[in-house]
């Protein structure tokens, strides 16, 4: 059975989603428990894959038994095994957390919510594990469609926000598909490893250059890289609490992973980074994205919307880090994918608890929260410190590598952007903390109990502890995994 783990990690959630959808019509009260069990099993599969990759190296799995360029192949290496663990762990936490929030906000759509939830996780895992460029597109569609649906389950402006997301998301996916089509015209292959071997002789071709641009533009639209970010803030703000806890930490990060995978495993760093003007342009775009995201976050009065602008700034960190095109920068970017997912998860979980208790997610809803909900605010403080980049939280370590990479590559504007964004985050979060600490609680909210239900609090506190635990183990992650990811030439 161990050999079947790569398929199992996708097939298990797929089949479970269908079963939830059928069984949920009978009794929807079990959906939550079942989802949590499925996510636990998926996390188990991911951990099993980690131990196999660490002992045996890269795993290849032939779907349908066909060898690579003829059939579809799954490839598990040091990069995507990390992502698999990240995705399954985050979705397990989000699944546990979702129970009370779904019951309060969208009780009638419980069954649909959990079906789409599990399918989204299957889509994200599939995007990560696949070694086939077209298969990746199919799973992008799965994760995108479920994402649109999960966001549209929110109230009021969620429909319009989801619609805007559909337009941008579809354009992004189309660009990716067009790019893959161009690659197929010139090579006749869809397998990533095969493409990697076939492409070098074609690097001078105009078609291949356009294919690269199209794929990159598509992935950037998906990850909300500046200036293609406009869909993200509203979509993530007006989504139901339980949706944003899953979607906000994972969607953009998996797209960043796809970008890294395309640059390293389909094309090569030599091809992607060989024109230094392009490299500098992308780093400049990242710089503008970081600055814009940070400034926009400072201007928000809505707590959740503020967090969404921070995501846009963080996407700038990761894209910029990769396009620094040196060892430290890429290490920082990959590490930041993991760290940012955890930080975003932690902050959105806190925002969800605030929404659950006060019925709103404005910044002023947090008045006097240190007195009302000390544990939640402890978790919030830790996450805020991590976003600012205070050691020993996760945020510090990846920012450190990014900083080293920028200094090494003499990209001083990127260094300045990182410092600026850290200062802005400090300003932003200390302002909230001050208000939550010194202001008196709103008397209108006095009726609420001390803390949220256990099934919401356990994920909040667990993630906060995770921020420290992963931070302290950054060295292990870099030495055991990330160093194998970076191509030898850099």
């Amino acid at each position: 059975m161990n050999d079947q783990l790569p398929a199992l990690i996708i097939v298990l959630p797929l089949v479970s989603a269908l079963l939830v959808n059928i069984a949920g019509r009978v009794g929807r009260s079990y959906c939550w428990l079942f989802t949590v069990l499925v996510m636990t099993a998926v996390t188990g599969c991911a951990l099993g894959l980690v131990s196999r990759v660490m002992t045996q190296g890269i795993i290849h799995y032939r779907l349908g038994g066909w060898p690579a360029p003829v059939g579809i192949e799954y490839v598990v290496d040091h990069l995507n095994v990390l992502m698999l663990v990240l995705i399954s762990a985050v979705s397990l936490v989000a699944a546990i957390y979702s129970g009370p929030a779904v019951q309060r906000e969208i009780p009638e759509q419980t069954t649909s919510f959990y079906t789409l939830f599990i399918l989204l996780v299957a889509g994200l895992l599939g995007m990560t594990i696949t070694g086939d460029a077209f298969n990746l597109y199919v799973l992008v569609e799965i994760s995108a469609l479920t994402g649109y649906g999960l966001i549209a389950l929110g109230q009021g402006r969620a429909f319009l926000a989801s619609f805007n997301y559909i337009i941008m998301g579809t354009v992004g996916a189309c660009f990716y598909l067009l790019g893959v089509g161009h690659l197929y015209i010139k090579t006749g292959s869809l397998n990533m490893k095969d493409l990697y071997q076939l492409l070098p002789s074609l690097y001078s071709s105009e078609t291949i250059a356009v294919a690269f641009i199209l794929i990159l533009a598509g992935v950037w639209a998906k990850m909300a890289f500046f200036p293609l970010h406009t869909w993200l803030p509203n979509a993530y703000t007006y989504a139901p609490t339980a949706t944003s806890a899953l979607v906000a930490p994972l969607m953009t990060k998996v797209s960043v992973y796809v970008m890294i995978r395309i640059i390293f495993s389909v094309f090569s760093p030599e091809f992607a980074f060989h024109i230094s003007a392009v490299r500098h342009l992308v780093v400049w775009m990242a710089v503008v994205g970081i600055v814009t995201g940070s400034v926009m976050a400072l201007l928000q009065t809505d707590f959740k919307k503020m967090l969404t602008y921070l995501i846009i700034a963080e996407v700038g960190y990761m894209v910029g880090g990769v396009w620094l095109a040196n060892r430290a920068g890429i290490t920082g970017a990959v590490l930041h994918v993991i760290n940012d997912a955890l930080m975003t998860l932690s902050l959105f979980l806190v925002a969800g608890v605030v929404t659950y208790r006060t019925g709103g997610h404005q910044v002023r809803n947090l008045q006097g929260f240190y007195r009302i909900m000390p544990w939640t605010m402890a978790a919030f403080t830790l996450a805020a410190l991590s976003m600012i980049g205070v050691p020993p939280t996760v945020g510090f370590f990846s920012k450190w590598y990014l900083m080293l990479g920028a200094i090494h590559g003499a990209q001083w504007h990127f260094v300045a952007a990182l410092v600026f964004s850290s200062l802005m985050n400090a300003l932003l979060f200390f302002r909230i903390m001050e208000m939550a600490f010194f202001d008196a609680p709103d008397p209108a909210q006095a009726w609420v109990g001390p803390e949220a239900p256990v099934s919401m609090m356990a994920p909040v506190l667990g993630t906060a502890v995770g921020l420290l635990a992963v931070g302290l183990n950054s060295r292990v992650i870099v030495d055991r995994f990330i160093q194998f990811v970076i191509p030898a030439g850099l």
Partner: protein
Amino acid sequence: MIWCFDFIILLMLVTCAFAAIWSKGLLSAGMILSAYSFLMALLWTEMGAVDVAFTEAAVGAGVSTVFMIAVVYHTRRFIQPRRYGRMFFKLMGLLATLILGGLSLYAASDFPSWADPSEPASLHVAPYYIENTIRDTAVPNVVTSVLADYRGFDTMFETTVILTAGLVAHAVLRRLGRRRDPNRKTNDGRPVEAHTSIVVQRIARIMVPFIQLYALYVVAHGHHSPGGGFQGGVILGASFILVGLAYNIQTVLARFSEPLGVLLANTGVLLYAGIGVACMVLGANFLDYGILSRVLPGTSPVMARSHAMLGVEIGVAIAVSAIMVSIYINTASKGYHDQGL
């Protein structure tokens, strides 16, 4: 390749695309897009991609037009002009189009010639499929063997994509609890018959059995001729949509109830995934149909592949037809399932 034929179709295609964007009437834009899809189907046929043409005709020119009409029916028929920023959006659109068009032309400068036998796409994996499909799978239609076996995993998820679309339409539109739209007139609790045309109803009555029979043929004969689960499923779903258009939604629901639709949609994909899981249980990789010869009496691994492909095609057809009906009912009745369109 008949170049003058191609040229005319492409010219009409571009005209349709322009007209659809130009048109201020959303209903007419939907109709023009239907014509666009039909021209695409012609073009695919001319290129020899008959399976794709079939899908394009059934999905693009067929059901998606009905969905568009349903949406227009419930929203508005004409575009409302933007109040502000009109020029800005037009300029941005123009800029994006120019960049994308320029890039496409630049990329096309290095394309291999049309139908060149020495182009890379004809030399790499394609010859393997063409030469070995009979030996590997005993299925003469290469498209089916690539779709359902060599790259069967993609097709399973494509079916899941359709399922997801149906689920999302259901989750977003369906109004549970409130059975009826409070703003609409009813006749003693029963919906008002918005349109009854005896001619349309009679014709639909005669057509539906033939459409359904043809759909089953398309599913079952996908191994040997163009067609398969997707096309057959869409045609089967379209027969129920025709009933809905000619009669009303109640008539469809009496024959294809909501719980049944949910069950069928999920069961279809489960059948596909289940065949894959069965292969895993027997000790082979996921979707490695050959091993099923152990449980199918009197079959060789090659024939087991052929039979399993029929199995997954049936699964696809069940799921797709149920989803098409479900999307139609949800969009046409705004999720109230009482009346509409």
